[in-house]
């Protein structure tokens, strides 16, 4: 199996090398963030652990990016995996190959991140580092195994567009469990029977992660509902096309936007919190972390945009051939970004504020809401803007996809 993996590695395309770099870099950043968070949480200081919690949670968007990156160049990869299946590879073999590829990349990346952390924190406790590296590697492997699962199912006629799936009950359970854990942690506070005084923090963090996964999955539904509405009323060809494209594949958008929505969510949450308590230094750190997350979100969007353009190439170049100007097609991309990003960002911003306000309802003062709402609006705006900018930046990519001179 390792031989096959190495054979495949030698024939990799440029897009696949980009994917390898992204996965490794993402794993490195995630490792570094989590290690730092663990160290901060060790301090006997509530401000420190608050920051640590925020940093640890930021590892979630980074992990999301790694997963997203694992899907880059999926068209090439899916074709290759399908060929492997036809050549006699069992579904398990293909999954193994994916896991091997993802795992090795994650191992390389997280080792790098771990090394950087150790070099910058020589004095600190180094015990958590290998644990974190192992966890990130495992995550990379699982993500890699899952990336090719459509192909694993059907060697012939690779499923290019999986059927649109509405939100399932499972998503709601995740959502509910998340809210439950978070509220439980907030209510019980210090009196937890395990992990000492950090018990409530751990439970709240776990609740948040679940909540966010639930929100991301539910985003599929929100995106599709919004796209359907726009599609029904669209008067312009660009809007109609954009809405239908989003409607046909809301999961891809929800996945790409999950990192964006997490950033907006944390931004809004941090804003609501900053209005309340004054750990200024910690808050500044959180804001810096948010900036990092924003960059991460942009990368995730670029990855998605590139992936999408590969899919759209044929129908778009046919449209261009029949006289649709490139600017209109670029307009389709921008409108898609607005249609998909707006609902997701708004929901993320509102729930970010709501989480803070609801859990601290007893002490939250009305005048703090102004600052919180302002931050939420800014964060939602930033999220949509990021999506639109990425769509605009994709113009050269679009031009490349449309250039007919390459095909004889």
């Amino acid at each position: 199996m390792i031989t096959v993996s190495r054979m495949l590695n030698r024939g990799r395309s440029r897009a696949e090398r980009v994917r390898a770099w992204l996965v490794a870099a993402g794993a490195a950043v995630a490792t570094f963030l989590v290690c730092t968070a663990v160290r901060l949480a060790d301090f006997e200081d509530e401000g420190g652990s608050l920051t640590g919690l925020a940093l640890a949670l930021l590892a979630v968007p980074v992990a999301g990016l790694v997963h997203q990156a694992n899907r880059l160049a999926s068209a090439t990869r899916e074709r290759r995996l399908a060929a492997l299946r036809l050549a006699g590879a069992a579904p398990g073999d293909v999954r193994w190959l994916g896991a091997l590829e993802g795992g090795v990349l994650a191992l390389v990346g997280s080792s790098g991140g771990g090394v950087i952390y150790v070099l910058t924190h020589l004095s600190g406790p180094l015990l958590p580092v290998p644990v974190v590296v192992a966890l990130v590697t495992l995550g990379g492997g699982v993500s890699g195994a899952r990336a090719g699962r459509h192909v694993v199912a059907s060697p012939l006629g690779v499923v290019r567009r999986a059927r649109v799936r509405g939100p399932r009950v499972r998503d709601l359970i995740l959502f509910g469990a998340g809210v439950g854990l978070f509220v439980l942690g907030a209510v019980v506070k210090g009196g937890f029977p395990f992990v000492g005084k950090y018990g409530s923090g751990v439970v709240m963090a776990a609740g948040l992660v679940l909540l966010l996964f639930g929100v991301t999955l539910a985003a599929t539904w929100v995106v599709r509902a919004c796209a359907r509405r726009v599609g029904r009323r669209a008067r312009l060809a660009e809007a109609l096309l954009a809405a239908r494209l989003v409607e046909a594949d809301p999961r891809a958008w929800a996945r790409a936007l999950s990192v964006v929505s997490l950033t907006v969510f944390f931004g809004a949450m941090a804003g609501a919190q900053q209005a309340m308590v004054g750990y200024w230094q910690a808050h500044a750190l959180v804001d810096v972390a948010l900036l990092v997350a924003l960059v991460t979100s942009a990368v995730a969007l670029v990855v998605h945009q590139a992936e999408e353009l590969i899919d759209l190439r044929r129908s778009f170049s046919a449209l261009a051939a029949s006289g649709v100007p490139e600017s209109s097609l670029s307009g389709v991309l921008v409108r898609q970004a607005v249609i998909a990003a707006s609902p997701v960002c708004v929901v993320a911003a509102v729930s970010g504020v709501a989480v803070v306000v609801v859990t601290t309802l007893d002490v939250y003062q009305v005048q703090w809401l102004g600052w919180a709402a302002g931050r939420a609006v800014v964060m939602a705006g930033v999220g949509v803007l990021a999506a639109v900018l990425v769509a605009l930046a994709a113009r050269p990519l679009l031009r490349g996809a449309l250039s007919t001179d390459v095909r004889a």
């Binding site: 567009r161 312009l236 096309l241 129908s315 029949s322």
Partner: protein, 221 residues
């Protein structure tokens, strides 16, 4: 009406098209035939303004269109030409009627008007039943007829069809061809038909046979 003069084009070291000239009159159906690699598609792309020829010129009603800047060229394509490809190249995320309405919407026609016109064209090509189905749910023949409707909905002067029946069986191909030809004749549109299938070429008024990038001697008149 549409004229190519001394057209030439190379891809790398391959000479795809070498000094090819032809004239297409109003409402005429011309088949461009030849074995694969003879330069059929390249000739069609040059005439349709999708690819710029390296040598020669393309004229529409006596006006040069091969050297127009991209926005102008796009406008000519949108207003005067329609295209049908081998696999239709419809947008799979849209329904059949939306696909047909698309060129009109891009020409800034109102939604209601565009949808009505699109539905009429689907009816004319006998595919009204699938108006609200997505492209993935249609058979190959239905797809091609939807593609023909999309090419003709703007009332073009010339329809370019590149192996429109390439992926279909005999009967399916025949239905698409008769639909294309009768619809084009009804709309007084000329058709440039690229094909390697003689039975498809037989739908044309005349043939331009290509061999290795040049017009086969003795066939063109």
């Amino acid at each position: 009406m549409l004229e190519g003069r001394g057209l030439g084009k190379s891809f790398g070291r391959t000479r795809a098209l070498d000094d090819v000239s032809l004239t297409i009159s109003e409402g005429e159906v011309v088949a461009v035939t030849g074995p694969s690699g003879a330069g059929k598609s390249t000739l069609l792309h040059c005439l349709a303004g999708v690819v710029r020829p390296e040598a020669g010129e393309v004229l529409l009603d006596g006006r040069r269109i091969d050297s127009l800047p991209e926005p102008e060229s796009t406008k000519v394509r949108r207003e005067s030409f329609g295209v049908v490809f081998q696999f239709g190249e419809l947008v799979p995320e849209l329904t059949a009627v939306e696909n047909v309405a698309l060129p009109l919407l891009f020409s800034r026609r109102g939604r209601q008007e565009a949808m009505t016109a699109a539905a009429e064209w689907l009816a004319r090509l006998e595919v009204s039943d699938c108006a609200d189905q997505r492209i993935g749910e249609l058979s190959g023949g239905q797809r091609q007829r939807v593609a023909v409707a999309r090419a003709l909905v703007t009332g073009p002067r010339v329809v370019f069809a590149d192996e429109p029946t390439g992926a279909l069986d005999t009967i399916g191909g025949e239905q698409v061809m008769s639909a294309l030809i009768s619809a084009a004749r009804a709309g007084r549109a000329a058709v440039v038909l690229v094909t390697h299938d003689n039975r498809v070429a037989a739908y044309a008024d005349r043939e331009v046979a290509l061999r290795d990038g040049s017009v086969l001697a003795g066939v063109q008149r």
